[in-house]
């Protein structure tokens, strides 16, 4: 599988995502520059964490206008796999590829710590290797990770089994403890926690590998809602 890690000006978890896929999981992994519209034949696009365009205006608000995001949108619409982590999740909501929005944490402070997450669905290319209800310990590191959406959207997400992860200890005030969601077609997932930071025992855990390895073996059939 070929993985493309998008680099926006201000991305700062791009090397971490690259390291997890290229070095830990030994996959062909390339960086994709924001100013280009070529995905270089990647099968999985990763939008990494960081502060794209300085998070000016709103987190992820400027990134959606880049040539790269135009290509990613088209790729997603054609069924390609897209994983947005942290700032990448914020970009996906701004770009309209995922519903809802990420706003300032209720505590008003940046929060960096490892939190327990519930795997809310295994019916996705990103979670099929997990067990439903399983707890994964993943680090969060964000100032604007509070997931919000209107009641109708939240109900719909739950009814369609599109909540991928829930916080067991909510660090940011996210509605219904939502930590990660899927699009309707289930080929796009965004989450605030960082699986790439939990992919090496030296970093204190490997629970993130469950997600990354699921994506690598996404050929396994996923039933579309």
């Amino acid at each position: 599988m070929k993985i493309g890690v998008v680099v926006f000006p201000g991305s700062n978890c791009d090397h971490d995502a690259w390291h997890a896929f290229a070095e830990t999981l030994r996959q062909d992994t390339v960086f994709l520059w924001h100013d280009s519209a070529s995905l270089q034949g990647a099968d999985l696009i990763v939008l990494p964490g960081g502060f794209s365009y300085g998070d000016y205006l709103r987190c992820g608000a400027i990134a959606k206008f880049s040539p790269m995001m135009g290509a990613v949108k088209k790729f997603a619409q054609e069924g390609g796999l897209v994983l947005g982590i942290c700032n990448g999740f914020q970009i996906l909501t701004e770009a309209g590829l995922l519903p809802g929005a990420l706003v300032r944490n209720v505590g008003l402070k940046f929060v960096c710590k490892t939190v327990p997450l519930e795997v809310a669905t295994t019916n996705s290319p990103f979670t099929h290797r997990a067990v439903k209800g399983q707890t994964l310990a993943l680090p969060v590191a964000h100032g604007e990770g509070c997931y919000i959406a209107n009641e109708q959207v939240l109900d719909e997400l739950e009814a369609e089994d599109r909540v991928a992860f829930r916080y067991r200890e909510n660090p940011n005030g996210s509605m219904r403890n939502i930590a990660g969601v899927l699009n309707r077609e289930r080929n796009v997932m965004g989450l605030m926690p960082h699986p790439e930071r939990a992919a090496d025992p030296l970093m204190g855990g490997t629970d993130g590998l469950t997600i990354l390895e699921s994506a690598l073996h996404a050929g396994v059939a996923v039933s579309r809602a």
Partner: protein
């Protein structure tokens, strides 16, 4: 050259003495212009010239087989093997952080990061050492809480966005910092030996290129310059604290490292204090060349700036570089890719002069050497160090030991700093093997099997009682922290925070402290590769405690880290180094004296450096050999606090400890004698064997058990507490202090 007339008042406003002005006249052979006076004023300031400390800093050891670059460059460089090296340094931003805590601290982080990547190294770790007045003081508490909140969010804002993990540090609260908080930031970067760049303007005719953010009027020359004579052209009064933009800095980092890889860059330096001034004359002086710049070419944020303002601006996120003539375009295209300004503003000349023009008119023409190397040096008079405390102890008020322990655990200096470090991204770049709260921070180097351990430590109380011995204790403590995670200490950086050097009793503190630093760094073979001196830390004539802050780095093979906390029940608890000795005077600088007795007296704990070195050798062997299950050095709060903290792992494993000592309980439990490390092990015989082989004591003092910490001496139970209760106090104390409620 038509500028304001130079009068004695103008000279004084630039903080230049009469004799310094005479020296300027003789170096120039004429009267300076106002721009020139401003340039001299900054370059010869204490901050840039180290004029009060320079002759004493020469006493520091600066060399070893590993040191590739000692003091004098933007950062020191040390070899870590496998063709790799690290660059690291510490800088203070004390005064700006007091005026505007958020931006003051943020730009402090920005400045030290530029010092690292201007050498070609990618920053991979930051640590911060911050000191404030008391949070619960009736008069000053509200302001101190606001300062703490502002400084922490400023550091978080800059480091998190830039993408460097803040992996450790220290935070202290003390009355002495009420009117003068300290914000010292350490940064460390990594690179290959052949990727090192220096701040040298070599090659006559080479283009001088300005890159990064535009120049504005921010940060111009401190409060002294806000007087009427100089504001005709600058109309509005500007805040003197600079404003940082970590996003621009991140772009600057990536662009600089990429431009360096093209091979077209000859020399590069960040624009720190008095940005354009220091970068031009220092680069010229190092290379023995001249630098000529045309200010009208400099990217500017506002119109109508005078040469004076532009040369003294401290706008952030700017760098000056010298490229190979003919290859400028390669450099320009890299900066264009990252959306940053890059403009040729001048060239390297052969005449050794800093020549500053605006629209072709010369506003300054000064020999580079005069600015960078001929700054005045003073051997300021000194007497005996100021001593703010009595030698003998007051009447000790005895409470109950368990309650005393709780007070200590819930005190600002000892309690968990979770509230602070959870605001810092301490994991970005996925190298943090051991982060905040660990004995020492450990960051792996992905390209090799080597990790870097680092520790930052200060102790104003010890140094107030004895600056020389206090400073030695800091070096010993940092080296012990590194050894306790299995690392070999290799090099030092330091930030010397003191009061007014023109007061002989303060100058004496400075000299004693530097000499103590020199002795200890030589003894532990951790040469000093750079640092920073911050003087005049006084408010209304009250100086801060002398506060040298020492940062030491070490190397170890990359592996799973050893923790502080007891991992399971049934392990034997051994005190490597023994119980130590102390008398009543040596209790006076401890946390027990501060928190429980609300007092300061006596002398710092006694340090035997020979013994300390052997203890460190022993613990390194034990940790690297996997012979201990946990290791925690005894420092603030002594044995009782170290034992309690060892219980604060996820499982609340405490210990039952039985001692056999002549020491009175307050000394036995709370003295802070060095050279002691608490370990747990399934195999105490191995610990004894290695302790013996290194010539140090080791005594078995107890066994780990579930949920309780008990300490008794010769059958008398001194304390018996629940671990979860102690942990709760320790864990939440800082939030309680911030919200002005009582923790105990």
């Amino acid at each position: 050259m038509s500028e304001t007339l130079i009068t004695p008042e103008v000279i004084a406003q630039h903080q230049l003495s009469t004799s310094e002005y005479q020296k300027i006249l003789s170096l120039l052979g004429r009267e300076p212009t106002l721009t020139e006076l401003g340039i001299f004023g900054v370059m010869w300031s204490e901050h840039c010239s180290y004029k009060s400390s320079r002759i004493h800093l020469k006493k520091l050891p600066t060399e070893s087989k590993r040191v590739l670059q000692g003091p004098g460059e933007n950062a020191g460089i040390v070899d870590i093997g496998d063709g790799m090296a690290i660059a690291f340094k510490i800088e203070s931003h004390n005064h700006p952080s007091f005026i505007e805590p958020f931006q003051g601290a943020a730009t402090g982080v920005g400045g030290i990061l530029r010092d690292i990547f201007t050498m070609g190294a990618r920053p991979i770790a930051v640590m911060d050492s911050i000191r404030f007045g008391r949070l619960d003081d009736e008069a000053t508490g509200a302001r101190n809480r606001r300062l703490l909140e502002g400084v922490v969010s400023g550091i978080a804002h800059y480091g998190n966005c830039f993408g460097v993990p803040t992996v450790g540090g220290e935070c202290v609260f003390e009355e002495s910092y009420d009117g003068n908080p300290l914000v010292n930031v350490f940064a460390l970067g990594v690179f290959h030996h052949d990727e090192v760049f220096y701040g040298k303007a070599s090659g006559v005719g080479n283009p001088v290129i300005y890159v990064g953010a535009k120049t504005g009027r921010d940060g111009i020359h401190g409060a002294s310059m806000a007087s009427a004579e100089f504001t005709e052209s600058s109309k509005r009064k500007r805040p003197n604290v600079q404003v940082g933009d970590p996003f621009t800095e991140k772009l600057l980092l990536e662009a600089c490292l990429e431009a360096m890889r093209t091979g077209a860059i000859v020399g590069i330096q960040d624009m720190g204090a008095a940005g354009l001034t220091s970068s031009t004359c220092e680069m010229g002086s190092r290379a023995g060349t001249g630098v000529e710049i045309e200010l009208s070419l400099v990217p500017q944020r506002e119109a109508g700036m005078t040469p004076y303002e532009m040369m003294l601006s401290e706008s952030q996120e700017r760098m000056l570089l010298v490229a190979e003539r003919g290859r400028e375009d390669v450099v320009f295209s890299v900066f264009k890719k990252w959306g940053l300004d890059a403009v040729e503003i001048g060239r390297v000349t052969a005449d050794g002069m800093l020549r500053v023009k605006q629209n072709g008119i010369v506003f300054a023409e000064i020999p580079n050497r005069a600015l960078a190397d001929e700054a005045p040096k003073y051997d300021r008079p000194r007497t005996r160090p100021l001593r703010p405390a009595p030698l003998d102890r007051p009447t000790i008020l005895r409470g109950t030991w368990g309650a005393d322990l709780k007070m200590l655990l819930a005190s600002g200096d000892v309690c968990s700093k979770r509230w602070i470090y959870e605001q810092y991204d301490h994991q970005v770049r996925t190298n943090t093997v051991a982060g905040p709260g660990a004995e020492a921070a450990v960051v792996r180097i992905k390209e090799t099997n080597t990790s870097i351990a680092m520790s930052l430590d200060g102790n104003g109380r010890y140094c107030a009682l004895d600056p020389r011995e206090g400073t030695k204790l800091l070096v010993a403590e940092c080296c012990r922290n590194l050894s306790t995670v299995g690392a070999l200490p290799i090099a030092t950086t330091n930030n010397l925070n003191f009061g007014n050097p023109e007061r002989p009793e303060i100058m004496a503190q400075i000299v004693e402290s530097i000499e103590g630093l020199a002795d200890a760094c030589r003894f532990f073979d951790v040469p000093v590769t750079g640092g920073n001196v911050s003087l005049y830390n006084e408010t209304l004539g009250t100086p801060i405690f002398p506060t040298p802050v020492v940062g030491i780095v070490g190397t170890l093979p990359t592996s799973l880290p050893i923790g502080i906390s007891f991992p399971k029940v049934g392990l034997r608890v051994v005190l490597l180094g023994g119980l130590g000795t102390a008398d009543a005077r040596e209790l006076g600088g401890t946390q027990y004296a501060k928190v429980v007795q609300n007092s300061l007296w006596g002398v710092p704990p006694r340090l035997d450096m020979e013994y300390e070195k052997r203890v460190q050798a022993a613990i390194r062997e034990l940790v690297r050999g996997g012979l201990v299950a946990s290791a925690h050095d005894l420092s603030k709060g002594g044995l009782a606090v170290a034992l309690a903290e060892s219980g604060f792992g996820p499982e609340n494993i405490g210990a039952d400890v039985k001692l056999d000592s002549d020491l009175p309980p307050e000394l036995l439990l709370f003295h802070e004698g060095p050279s002691r490390i608490l370990v747990s092990t399934p195999n105490p015989e191995e610990v004894f064997r290695l302790a013996n082989a290194n010539g140090v004591h080791a005594i078995e003092i107890g066994v780990t058990l579930k949920a309780r910490v008990t300490i008794s001496n010769r059958g008398e139970v001194l304390l018996d507490e629940r671990v979860d209760e102690l942990k709760g106090l320790w864990n939440n104390a800082l939030e309680h202090l911030l919200h002005n409620s009582v923790a105990v």
